[in-house]
């Protein structure tokens, strides 16, 4: 808090000074000030208007809608005040509860897996000189593939009857597994697909981080006779910690948004095995046309995102203080 306050005071002091010392502003100064003020607003206004009209306004409207029961008939809606009923109903919605639990499980395991795989790949990649660019090109590919296509790819590969995965496991004598259709393996399969999809992103950030580490520290470690593992534990990991934290936060936020792959791979099933928050919301709001109740669910999800964010900020603040 301190630096911001002092910086603000500094800015105020700098801004106050000219008017106190300079005798008279000329007409040219005045025109320039006017010009600057005009352009200051003109350059900001497109983004400002977009954010106000398409983020603030819709969310306020969503919040208001969450206190109503909305029924549709013939393209017309009628609103009945519902007070807090929608929110009360939320607490008893088993689908929503399953959605939250699965989303948390999904996010933790998927992001953990991606970070681990991405880090190993990045370490391996910095170990080779020739072919590094080719490897990077190949590893970037999944980042650019639409989530729905990733879903389509793995729906085919994990198919019980003819999927490549079951064909491959049959070669080494395993029985076919209904990866997406069985409650025991469905969530794990979706997590695996997400790891396939987003490991490259973690890899890319880690590779950039590893390549920007100062080399002299490694030379010093070598002179001190550090083994490869010691180098990793005492040099690489501590220096990579900021990149690791940023990547973790980035991916965690994205993992909580998961929708595309689940939609195509399992549709939330079997049962509620792969029901995630966004998918529950989609079912309630769009498929069942429960506009009021769905709005309450959206508000709840947004509120939970905010909680998660403030927890992350608090953790970062504590880490900063500890240093």
């Amino acid at each position: 808090m301190k630096p911001i306050a002092s910086a603000a005071a500094h800015v105020a002091a700098v801004e106050a000074e000219p008017s106190a010392t300079v005798s008279q502003p000329t007409a040219a100064d005045f025109a320039r000030g006017l010009d600057e003020r005009l352009w200051r607003w003109l350059t900001l206004s497109p983004a400002l208007l977009l954010l106000l009209a398409l983020s603030v306004l819709p969310l306020l409207n969503l919040f208001a809608t969450s206190f109503f029961t909305v029924s549709w008939s013939g393209g017309h809606s009628s609103f009945t005040a519902a007070g807090l009923n929608n929110y009360r109903e939320l607490a008893g919605d088993t689908l929503f509860r399953a959605g939250i639990l699965n989303t948390v499980l999904f996010a933790l395991f998927a992001v953990g897996g991606q970070m681990l795989c991405g880090f190993v790949l990045a370490l391996l990649c910095t170990g080779v000189a020739r072919g590094r660019l080719l490897y990077r090109t190949i590893f970037i590919l999944p980042i650019l593939v639409p989530g729905i296509v990733v879903g389509a790819i793995w729906k085919l590969l994990l198919n019980y009857d003819f999927g490549l995965v079951n064909q491959a496991t049959a070669l080494i004598g395993f029985d076919a597994v209904n990866w997406l259709g069985s409650a025991n393996t469905a969530l794990a399969s979706v997590i695996f697909v997400d790891i396939w999809h987003w490991t490259p992103f973690c890899f890319l950030l880690f590779l950039a981080g590893l390549q920007s580490l100062p080399q002299d520290v490694y030379e010093a470690a070598k002179i001190d006779g550090a083994s490869g593992w010691q180098e990793l534990a005492y040099v690489t990991l501590p220096m990579m910690l900021p990149t690791i934290m940023v990547t973790f936060a980035f991916r965690l936020v994205l993992a909580f948004k998961v929708f595309d792959e689940v939609y195509l791979l399992t549709g939330g099933g079997p049962g509620t095995a792969t029901q995630v928050m966004s998918f529950t919301l989609y079912q309630r709001f769009f498929r069942e046309d429960q506009t009021g109740y769905g709005s309450a669910m959206s508000v709840a999800i947004i509120f939970m995102t905010c909680l998660l964010l403030s927890a992350a900020f608090a953790a970062r603040g504590r880490m900063g203080a500890a240093r």
Binding site: I4, A8, D35, E36, W39, R40, T43, L44, P46, A47, L48, L50, L51, L54, V56, P58, N61, L121, L124, C125, V128, G131, Y135, F139, I140, L141, L144, V145, P146, G147, V149, G151, A152, I153, L156, L157, D161, F162, W196, A208, T243, V246, T247, K257, F259, D260, Y263, L264, M277, S278, L281, F285, F286, T291, G294, S295, I301, I302, T305, C306
Partner: protein, 278 residues
């Protein structure tokens, strides 16, 4: 321990692991593209060898019951338009917030809101947009999707362009001011040429994210306004899943990404890493 043979073995092992990982990335994609060239019977029989046919691509692109060309056009329109609007708005705003004398609290609130907004699940936002678009009569229009994608990608573009705008030497801008350059001239002649590579990186990412979006497009479109991902999902939803056609459509849908990966990898890497590291 660090003899030449040991280090060569190690390098070989590293390459083997990396090649294995590369295969893990490539094989699924190649297998599905190949499935696009198979007949449904050949795929379902699980045979490894097959005679490639163009039937699926023909069906997907030119059959009377398929809207895939319309979907492709919709995706291109939405992607290009939303990228253009997003870039203009984000670049101007990023410059304004970094270089004009806005009060600090204002900058914090503006960028803070953009950041928080970026964290919300798209489906929650889609529900909000759906209601608003319906109220103003924009439901089931491409305009709605363009607007939604623009504001969906605006925070990332603001963030990235902020990084690139701050890299412009302030002395250069001050010198131009002293020479009497007005704001538009300054932006066009001094700032724009310097941030051009950053602009390219942001443009590619914005376009790709718009192209890839499924949740928002699914909820804001109907048959005629559907984008490519929505169309692909349709193949899987029908009573009888058209696996090979879905594969063909999936193969067609990653073409733009492949082109961008080949011609713009430098920018993609710059955009993805700048955004997270700085």
């Amino acid at each position: 321990m660090n003899g030449p043979t040991a280090s060569r073995t190690r390098l070989l092992a590293t390459h083997i692991l990396l090649i294995a990982a590369a295969l893990l990335v490539l094989v699924p994609v190649v297998w599905v593209v190949a499935a696009g060239f198979r007949t449904q019977i050949s795929l379902l029989s699980g045979a490894f060898w097959f005679t490639p046919v163009l039937k699926n691509f023909n069906e997907v692109l030119f059959s009377k019951t398929s809207d895939f060309l319309v979907n492709y056009r919709n995706s291109l329109i939405v992607g290009l338009l939303s990228t253009l609007i997003c870039l203009v708005a984000a670049t101007l705003a990023a410059w304004s917030l970094n270089r004009m004398s806005w009060p600090r609290w204002f900058v914090h609130i503006f960028l803070g809101w953009a950041l928080v907004f970026h964290m919300f699940p798209p489906l929650a936002l889609a529900s909000a947009w759906f209601t608003i678009m319906r109220t103003v009569g924009l439901d089931n229009t491409l305009t709605a999707v363009v607007l939604a994608h623009t504001v969906l990608n605006l925070p990332m573009a603001l963030w990235l362009m902020g990084v690139f705008v701050r890299d412009v030497p302030i002395e250069l801008e001050e010198a131009a001011r002293l020479d009497g350059a007005t704001t538009p001239v300054l932006l066009w002649r001094i700032v724009l040429p310097i941030i051009a590579p950053g602009l390219a990186a942001t443009a590619i990412l914005t376009f790709v994210f718009s192209w890839n979006d499924f949740g928002v497009a699914l909820t804001l479109t109907m048959k005629q306004t559907a984008t490519v991902p929505v169309a692909i999902a349709k193949f899987a939803q029908d009573y009888e899943i058209l696996y090979t056609q879905m594969a063909a459509a999936a193969a067609l849908s990653i073409l733009p990404a492949l082109v961008l990966l080949i011609i713009g990898q430098r920018y993609i890497v710059a955009g993805l890493t700048q955004g997270a590291v700085k």
